[in-house]
Amino acid sequence: MDNPVILAAGILGTTGASLRRAALSGAGCVVTKSVGSIPRDGHRGPTVVQVEGGLLNAMGLPNPSYANFQQEIDIGREGEAPVVASIFGSGPQEFVEVAEGLDADGFELNLSCPHAERYGAEIGCEACNVEAITRAVKKSVDVPVWVKLTPNVADVVGLGLAAQRGGADGVVAINTLKAMAIDVESGRPILGNRFGGLSGPAIKPVAVRCVFDLAGALDIPVIGVGGISCWQDAAEMIMAGAAGVQVGTALRNPEGYGIFRSIAEGLSIYLDRKEMTLKELRGMARRFS
């Protein structure tokens, strides 16, 4: 990819219109909101709350089901950037059903959502599940398959290696960190789901560390995500070893969709100034280890 800045899953990915707008605004690739086998309304509100250093969310995988989503992917493709479908299921069979039901330029397996029963991190925290699901989906589709990993484990590299053994074309790290916020006035957890996932600047150092470790251990590309909101963040993630970066929470900043272009252009100017290529920048921090 010439432009390594990607729209992260779960952000502005419900409609083809917003995916297309992200692509036309300068995203090199866009990832849809996670799609499953049946329509889901998601958790009750509040589904998002601003906390120190970022956002806490528990959307609950709302989606219209793969049977009602192809048209959104097709509209998204009008932005002339690859559209990667984020998909979820409770096991290999359901993942394959969803993947086979969609025509996309790639798939990102959501094995990391921290707030949905029977899905995401509940199965994705076990390496054997990651490997089996990756293998099953790889066998059923002929486009690239990425695996999005949860950081809520002792050994994220173990999950990355499992994805690689399953045949993944890349891993995406990290999903949100398990977190919680409580309303001091009432003592109630603020999120409707009580628990959720933390995103934004607060988790960037955690993501950089995960990407560094994964890139050092895996042969397949690692895509960095977590708290990236400017070109410097993107450069840092690439120096940790990321082949590309995803942007999510930062879409809430005043520049909105404009953030893709500002990160991509900032990075390009930086590379020119350093007289370096993206490839040379990638994993640069490893030189010092």
């Binding site: 990915g13 917003s18 707008r21 709302p62 109630r188 409707g192």
Partner: protein, 252 residues
Amino acid sequence: MRPKNAQIVEIVRETANVRTLRFDLDLDPVPGQYLMVWVRGVDEVPMSISHQNGITVQQVGEATKAIFDLEVGDSLGLRGPLGNGFTLTGKRILLVGGGVGAAPLALLGEEACERGMEVTALLGFRCCDDLLFRERFERIGELVITTDDGSEGICGRASAGLSCLDLREFDQIYLCGPEPMMADFIGRCPGMETKIQASIDRYFKCGMGICGSCCIDPAGIRVCVEGPVIRADRLAGTEFGRYRRGPSGLKK
């Protein structure tokens, strides 16, 4: 921001299924902005602001029913004011409201009146019992009322009131009401779209422009941050007036 705690200091029964809640804090809104209202233990829903310190709620679902069960002294969690409200411009303005859509327009009209603008309001209701904020509108300018059953004012939808107004006299027109009514009204004003501001209702989850549940086809306008007030020329050729999406993203 985390939800601010707002204690209810007054509840006004406006009609059989519309109530105004006044809070112990000044919201300082731009008219047309909204709040994400957290009914603890139930849900969080967007509500437009009707007073400096209050909201006006129509009972339509579970969250609004729970709001109706609250009493003075109870509290809600509020995020906001959020989004882009109405922009006041010109010397003569027309407010066009349907049902509880009159609520933010009353606040807007009062601010326009304070600024010395000439305000006319055209409000449509189902029947005379549903009339909302009549005194507030009468205080700030001319008021034309329509009712579906003819029990008050002109018989018919809000657009029936157009017969007694010359739209060319107005520098700016502000809409808030049921979407079919607003779409119908805009359709009757060809060439005036850039003078019309409409407050749009969509399914909001995050209220901060990231989740995508409120995006309008085909341009992907994020209603929760780019709206809820959107100029009518930006709505031309969109899903507005034709369909919307529910919580799962399914069209309905």
